[in-house]
Symmetry: D5
Subunit: 114 residues, 10 copies
């Protein structure tokens, strides 16, 4: 589902940050909706994440059950599989549940990055 386009400046390390305050999924235990701000920061290699397909990809969680920790890791894995970035960080900031706010931050980096 995630689409990409060629990085216009692959010879240069630079950073792209994409933030959606509209992530929502379902709690696998209770079936109740969860809400999060999902932030993706990456250094592209050959490919960049296409904005519209990212929007659709994030929407695809709307009626799926997903735990906070697992879903943030899964989004990172899917994006890494789609564009193989030099490095990438995904941060999910989930709305308060039971009086507690949860933020999950997951990072991936090429093994040979200096």
């Amino acid at each position: 589902m995630l689409e990409s386009f060629p990085n216009p400046n692959p010879e240069r390390d630079y950073q792209i940050e994409m933030t959606s305050p509209e992530f929502t999924c379902l709690c696998p235990r209770t079936g109740q909706p969860d809400f999060a701000i999902m932030r993706i920061v990456y250094v592209p290699d050959r490919l960049c994440v296409e904005l519209k397909s990212l929007k659709l990809y994030l929407w695809s969680y709307r009626n799926q059950g997903a735990f906070h920790e697992a879903v943030t890791n899964r989004i990172l894995d899917d994006l890494v599989a789609a564009v193989n970035p030099r490095s990438m960080t995904v941060t999910g900031t989930f709305n308060v549940r039971g009086g507690i706010t949860t933020v999950v931050t997951v990072h991936h980096e090429w093994a040979d990055r200096p």
Copy 2:
């Protein structure tokens, strides 16, 4: 009292932050209520902190006497005992008393973390 669940991505170092603005205990000297924001940031190993049990654990201090410095250390010790994280920081931000705000920040890390 603190419960855990298996870390869905133990092969990866990543960070989980859980914040409750609803911590309250009693001053051991005067018996008067104290209030704090309690923030827990950790890198899980095999186990993650279960959200609902954390909520109940923090509530268990409601009618206990506890000094700011000691209670923040104790919460770290209990959480480390429960999930043995690769690293963990607990920060208690206590409401003003006598015109002074107190913030206690306690850190634990595996001895062999690079």
Copy 3:
């Protein structure tokens, strides 16, 4: 429990506002703690609310079951009984529960206020 002291300027209509961000009680249905900011605004007549007794009065709800709507009304009634103000407004701003924040605002005024 609520104490008062003589209004130093009863010949003048003026306003006193007292705000505590440390109100906590228990949900009568679940037994779980609720938290609120409690704000009291009034025009004193013969008596003013004594600060320390107000603090103790608000603390007295700590282990009582109380619905948001009922407890805000009860606090107004108790304060009116204690100091018979020319007018008074009590506002309880309760922390999010089930993703919803609740604010209850209750007003009392002498029948013959212009």
Copy 4:
């Protein structure tokens, strides 16, 4: 679906405000998700809106198509039908679409309110 409980102080006009930042429905034209903060302010008569049923009621729009203007009016109508308040205002603050943020504010009042 909306449930109520008896107003604990029907002899007094007072105000209840309930705010959910987690309202989401679908755009009837494009099928894409919309997001809003839904705020309800009312003066109860005999009945108050029960918090948990309100949460479930708002969640029921999750997979329904709904225009901004129509859905805000419908929520007001449903709440008025459920608790017949002396007055009520519903405000939907919808996330930016096409670079434009939309806020819809709808009010109902008893015909004979002074």
Copy 5:
């Protein structure tokens, strides 16, 4: 260019607010770009302003010369012509020029509004 759709609740007076932070036109004197936040607040009668056509209408000023005072009045006139609202206010908040920020607020109301 401005399109409309039937007001889903014409029997009720209610308010719609639409805000675009992306208004830009050209200064008729210098040819230099001006930028503004354009906010429209209205009570619809039979017709509501269609969101996408509003976006295109505001974009149509992009390469037109327009003074702050005149353009804000013109936008109000065009919107009144398109949907004949019971009342409408247009506010243009223009970016600083020569160290001075300018805000123009224009109002229209049916002659027989109470």
Copy 6:
């Protein structure tokens, strides 16, 4: 101690607001320092409050015992005696004590103001 200067525009009703965040006095009961923001808003008649003398006047409370309600009323009385304004409001916003913030707002107006 309070000095004045002639109002440069007595033929016009206009408003002057002077705010000091540096008011401090002593609690008459405990001898402990209290701190407040003191704000004075008035419509001058023949005389305006001289800024430097106001600063010295407010400093004169530094080592005096003064209850929140009484001192705010006294400051209003002293300023009214010094410049006889057409109307004046004094607001003292006192720092939190015992978890409670107190704001006292006192108003004076000529008996024959329309």
Copy 7:
């Protein structure tokens, strides 16, 4: 020095607000610089204030001595003389001196405004 241009919509009452955070003059007593945010809000009649001439007019105070109260009144008088607005308010928010911030608000209105 103040210039004007014809009001493009004289048949309509509407409001123009112009704010400069760069007003500076000298204290007539000490010769030291004073700084203020100067805000002008008016309903134009036949004429509007020309932006560039307003900038130059405000700059003309840079090396003049001027008391806070007098200069705010004078700016209003000069602007009223230049464009004869239906109503106008000038607000000068002066930087802290001696620990005290001063705000002067001056209003003019046609004698026969409803």
Copy 8:
């Protein structure tokens, strides 16, 4: 188009930051306007960027199609070509599209910088 002037202190490494909240270009796919805050931070060598020519240079994108990633890289390239700075960072913060905000950060540095 970009002009420069001699660095007044070339013997010293120091930093200049220039920020314009008024960058706008067109989406090459849809032709619709995009908006961004463009921030340039650099250490000058022999030349500094002339402010007015930078303003005109940024305006030149107004009616050009430009993708977020490509245009931020191109601005960096053009500025590097114009003033050959010791180091430079360009950050484009683009307004929300499809519910997603995009920030692109591009950096250039002399190969022999320590």
Copy 9:
């Protein structure tokens, strides 16, 4: 005057931050009051600073003359003498005088800290 209590967790390096917005002393040159926010951050060794004695200690400056730089250094010296912390930073943020805000930051660390 400063009192201490035994560090409940001396085997662990952790941080305590205590902030008072109510510090006031006198300018030695003019005798006029100065105001500051005083913030103390330290890693305790065997002893922690007792909150109430810190409050009284800070109050003891109320009627003493003290320059900004000297008093911040002195507070650090007194606290180091009282509890011999592994490291400590004192920051005094002094209110604007002559249009200038001053912040003094002083640090102490054990000679053999790694």
Copy 10:
């Protein structure tokens, strides 16, 4: 013009920050006023900057022509000449001109600082 006083604690490295939001000079090209926040952060050696002389020194630019980059460098040079600090940073944050805000940050350090 800049005066100094002996550093009360020369044996210790510590930091002093002085910020004036009231810096103004003239644009050498157009003669129009520029405005900036000027912030000075330094580690004193034998001498500290005297506050009142700093105020007068900054005021001395009021009617001088000065480019942003050059004047920030010159202020650093003058302060270094006056007090020979171990290190010093001067930051000038200049108000928007032509839609662009400029911040210049200049640093000086003893050649033999570790």
